[in-house]
């Protein structure tokens, strides 16, 4: 029901230090389920708190539904208590001296709703979030999952147009995470609320969000759908941050890299400092050697339950060994120490120039005739905003 615009927002806690958030702009559409993803300390929580009004901007502007919430140049600021934005804290921040029902009711009281309406709303929320029977308990008597439901109920009861969630799943155990994930998706569809959440956990981001904004060191790296981010990382940071196990990154100028690019049908001429990223699941091992495959030795095979991580070393003359990681869902037929031949699927290959920026592959003339993927020839940047990492 609401959209939010961040215009070049910055946050500088200490003068002279690098800013916690550095000129970030994004447009969060009405009804979006947006995730701000990044390693800890990248400024993502600060962004959330600035939208909520718990921190003020050092520069820039935040607008929600045409209402300016914070603008430094114009000297405008609306405090958190007047923004009517819902925020669920990572710690849930339930009021320990109030029962579940009182926790949910508190905001409604402040709104001045009559008792009857409050009671009805509280009852509705309790049913919706499946916390029946806990109304008279105190937060300390609840489990983590129940506390989170109460925190959500407390926020949703206010029917905010914008819902902010701080690491919504990170404090939950594996099974609760799954059910809470489903719950959040359902709530998003049911309410149509604009949801913004922050997390450092890519699983959480990929499974929940419709849009992901990747942050690093206070700057925005890329915005896009989960698939965009994974399949077309805008720069080296995004490529290395997303994916588990992380992408293999090797110098594109080495002989094996050249060979792999060649077997995928890409042109081998690259500028200095260019890095080639290989997604572990895109590696293909076979016994038959071909002219374009790269010989490797199997170093180790680690079962992870239903999937396997295979560690490889590329056989080459150079002094420093080139190690790669491969993941596969099919039971490997290899033994430690086996020789194998490596190929890599073209969609699993990414090229980054010396500045870390994504670089399109050029096709060899022969390959161009049957390869038409738009991604390869001219990467589609229309959906992604790219910021320089440097």
């Amino acid at each position: 029901m609401s959209n939010i615009t961040l215009n070049n927002i910055s946050k500088c806690y200490t003068q002279g230090h690098p800013p916690a958030v550095d000129q970030v702009s994004m447009e969060i559409q009405d009804g979006a389920f947006m995730c701000v993803l990044g390693p800890s300390g990248c400024g993502k929580s600060t962004i959330l708190r600035m939208i909520a009004g718990l921190e003020h901007l050092s520069d820039g502007e935040i607008v929600a539904d045409g209402r300016v919430l914070d603008n430094v140049a114009k000297g405008l600021f609306i405090p958190a208590e007047k923004r009517q934005i819902g925020l669920v804290f990572q710690s849930y921040a339930l009021w320990p001296h109030m029962t579940v029902a009182r926790n949910i009711e508190f905001g409604l009281r402040l709104k001045g709703l009559p008792a009857k309406e409050r009671k009805k709303l509280v009852a509705e929320m309790i049913v919706m979030l499946k916390i029946e029977g806990l109304e008279d308990r105190y937060p300390a008597q609840l489990s983590g999952g129940q506390q989170q439901r109460v925190a959500l109920a407390r926020t949703l009861a206010m029917n905010p147009g914008i819902l902010l969630l701080d690491e919504p799943l990170s404090n939950l155990d594996a099974s609760l995470r799954l059910s809470m994930r489903a719950e959040l998706t359902r709530l998003h569809q049911e309410f149509g609320t604009t949801i913004v959440f922050v997390t450092h956990d890519q699983w959480e981001a990929m499974t929940l969000a419709t849009q992901i904004a990747v942050m690093n060191k206070g700057t925005l790296q890329q915005i896009g759908t989960p698939d965009d981010i994974y399949e077309r990382p805008a720069n080296r940071f995004v490529a290395e941050f997303i994916g588990n196990p992380p992408i293999n990154m090797i110098s594109a100028e080495t002989k094996p890299a050249q060979q792999l690019m060649h077997q995928a049908g890409f042109s081998m001429s690259v500028s200095e400092g260019t890095q080639l990223g290989l997604r572990p699941e895109g590696l293909q091992l076979s016994r038959e050697a071909s002219s374009s495959s790269v010989p490797v030795t199997i170093n180790d095979i680690l079962p992870t339950g239903g999937a396997w991580i295979i560690e490889l070393t590329v056989d080459q003359d150079e002094t420093s060994p080139l190690n790669l990681v491969h993941t596969t869902q099919t039971p490997p037929l290899w033994q430690r120490g086996d020789q194998a031949n490596l190929k890599v699927a073209s969609h699993a290959m990414h090229l980054f120039n010396a500045d870390g920026k994504r670089q399109p592959f050029a096709l060899t003339p022969k390959a161009a005739t049957y390869r038409t993927s738009a991604d390869v020839v001219s990467p589609d940047f229309s959906q992604s905003k790219i910021e320089d990492i440097s």
Binding site: G16, D59, E81, L110
Partner: protein, 606 residues
């Protein structure tokens, strides 16, 4: 990364306007500045003023100094430090102060550490019971023990009722009855619980796996104690020693009660005498000296604690507490602890209590016992013709004690909690840092010096504030200021534990500042608030230094009332009043322990 702040395109005016708009939404900063102003007036101003007084000609000293009142002079410094009188008025008391402080510090450290180790690390019999019993002296005013000593061991040097020993026919020399020896003994007894608490806590935190790791590597028990336990305990030991020393140099009541008959003066009693004889300039010098020594000692402590952080013990995960078996030492150790309980608690309190129900001291005959001093009427005395429970003086004093100390404690508690709030939430770091420091400052200043400082500032009118001497107001203000270290520590630690999320979530829900205070912060911090009120209350009720200087007969409180009774030799009545004070302090402390469920030690640290 942009090297230069990219906010440069904003003019300072724009930044300030934005900040002002934000500040208007949140009164935290305003309240912080208000608190700073209050504390500057209550804490900083008196102390700065007393230091100025040292160099200012006092009214009445124009003849001696040859200058007009208010002019700058070095007369007082010279008189105290370098005149013919110096050795009597300053150097001798200084020597006595150092003698008493250092000796009682060392003795209490040794005995206290042994007891702490026995209680925390061994299978001593009756540990639980003993660890409470051994702490009791800490809850009582120090001069309770001084009075108990005179009750038992007073000799014929001064008049009035004889001590029990005298009455039973033992002639005691002066050095046993008065002066350095009993003062050191009583102060040692008083500080032992303090050492037990601090060292015991440090021992408790010391993971016994660290010792076992040493043993596994083949170190002997003695080796482990010397190379592992002692180095890790050193910060706690040094810290307790310095805190005790800083407290001891300002101790007034014990040397006052025990030193007076033999002219045994310390800096604190000299200061009192200087004020009593209108030598305000000299008093200011004494206050200044006590202040400087106190601050230097605690600064040293802070510095050493910072050093000690370097080897903070890592990881309490799976910390284990394993007790050593005492073996054949079991009995001697238990007896030692029991003897300490007897000397520190049973004997003094018993002697005081018994003395209040006996006509003549030390004579255990049925006919000698009486309840007259508690509930008698028409007694055969010049003044105080009723037992104290029936005398209006007692109840008036009790009422002023409770009302003055009580209202000051409530104010201190609220200010303490507010201070805690501002220290953690202030948007300006300077406000939170200076609030934290200024509220802790009175801790560095011995009570007697602080009282003297208060007297010099508030005895004369300043601007809109009238002269406050002789009014309960000056006591009230001095108590608030003096108790702020405890109140603000309680407030800061409570607010630290609360975290800002709970309040932020109320903000997001739409609650303004007042609503957050009354619906969220205060209800959650109810117990902390009670502690922040009770702790100052107990410390205020048993305190002597502030009252002895600032109270006048019109504002009689329990402590001054009992000191007056001592001065007039109404021994039984005085002891009865002191017992009442001890009871209030004891029950108050127990109440705090119940409320917080943590015990005293927390309040002592930080």
């Amino acid at each position: 990364m942009t090297e230069i702040s990219h906010t440069n395109h904003l003019s300072p005016l724009q930044k300030w306007r934005h900040r002002l708009v934000i500040a208007k939404c949140d009164p935290t900063l305003l309240i912080g500045l208000g608190l700073l102003f209050i504390f500057a007036w209550l804490i900083a101003a008196p102390i700065i003023n007393v230091l100025f007084e040292v160099f200012t000609v006092q009214t009445g000293d124009e003849m001696r100094t040859g200058a007009d009142a208010g002019q700058v002079t070095g007369y007082y410094l010279e008189r105290v430090f370098a005149s013919r009188m110096s050795s009597i008025i300053f150097w001798k008391p200084l020597w006595n102060t150092l003698l008493v402080s250092i000796t009682s510090m060392l003795l209490s450290m040794v005995i206290g550490s042994i007891l702490a180790w026995l209680l925390v690390r061994t299978n001593l019999m009756g540990r639980r019971w003993l660890s409470t019993a051994l702490i009791i002296p800490f809850m009582l005013p120090a001069w309770t023990f001084a009075l108990a000593w005179t009750t038992l061991f007073k000799n014929a040097t001064i008049g009035g009722q004889p001590g029990w020993a005298e009455a039973m026919g033992y002639q005691l020399p002066d050095w046993v009855s008065y002066g350095a020896f009993p003062t050191i003994l009583i102060m040692t007894l008083n500080y032992i619980p303090f050492v037990i608490l601090l060292v015991g806590n440090a021992l408790r935190r010391l993971d016994s796996q660290l010792e076992e790791a040493g043993q596994m590597l083949g170190a002997s028990r003695g080796r482990v104690a010397l190379s592992i336990v002692f180095p890790l305990m050193r910060p706690a030991l040094m810290s307790s020693a310095l805190l005790i020393f800083a407290d001891a140099i300002g101790e007034f009541s014990v040397p006052y009660v025990l030193g007076l008959p033999v002219q045994f003066e310390t800096l604190a009693t000299s200061l009192y005498r200087a004020i009593g004889t209108q030598q305000n300039g000299v008093a200011a010098v004494f206050a200044g000296v006590i202040l400087v020594v106190g601050i230097a000692t605690l600064a040293l402590d802070t510095w050493m604690m910072r050093e000690a952080r370097r080897f903070a013990i890592i990881g309490s995960k799976g910390a284990m507490e394993r007790r050593q078996s005492l073996g054949w030492l079991q009995w001697p150790a238990t007896i030692l602890a029991l003897v300490m309980v007897f000397i520190g608690v049973v004997a003094p309190l018993g002697a005081l209590a018994l003395s209040t129900v006996m006509h003549l001291p030390g004579r255990f005959e049925l006919s000698n016992f009486t309840l007259d001093y508690w509930i008698g009427t028409n007694l055969d005395t010049v003044a105080l013709r009723n037992g104290i429970l029936l005398s209006s003086e007692f109840w008036n004093a009790a009422w002023s004690s409770i009302s003055i100390v009580g209202s000051a404690s409530i104010c201190a508690g609220i200010l303490g909690l507010l201070t805690g709030y501002i220290v953690l939430r202030s948007p300006l770091k300077f406000v939170s840092v200076s609030l934290r420091q200024i509220t802790f400052f009175p801790y560095l200043v011995p009570g007697i010096a602080f009282a003297a400082a208060f007297l010099t500032l508030f005895a004369v009118p300043h601007g809109p504030i009238p002269a406050l001497y002789g009014t309960p107001m000056i006591l009230f203000l001095a108590l608030i200021a003096d108790q702020m270290p405890f109140a603000s520590r309680a407030g800061i630690s409570a607010m630290t534990q609360l975290g800002s999320d709970v309040e932020d979530s109320a903000r997001v829900a739409g609650a303004g500042w007042l609503r957050r205070m009354f619906s969220i912060i205060l209800p959650i911090q109810r117990n902390a608030l009670v502690t922040a009120v009770l702790m100052p209350f107990i410390s205020g009720i048993k305190g002597v230094s502030l009252f002895i200087i600032l109270a006048v007969p019109a504002t009689d409180v329990l402590t001054t009332f009992s000191i007056r009774l001592i001065d007039f030799n109404y021994t039984q009545a005085a002891n009865a009043v002191v017992l009442m004070i001890a009871l209030i302090a004891l029950f108050g402390t127990i109440l705090i322990n119940r409320l917080t469920g943590t015990g005293l030690a927390q309040g002592l640290e930080s």
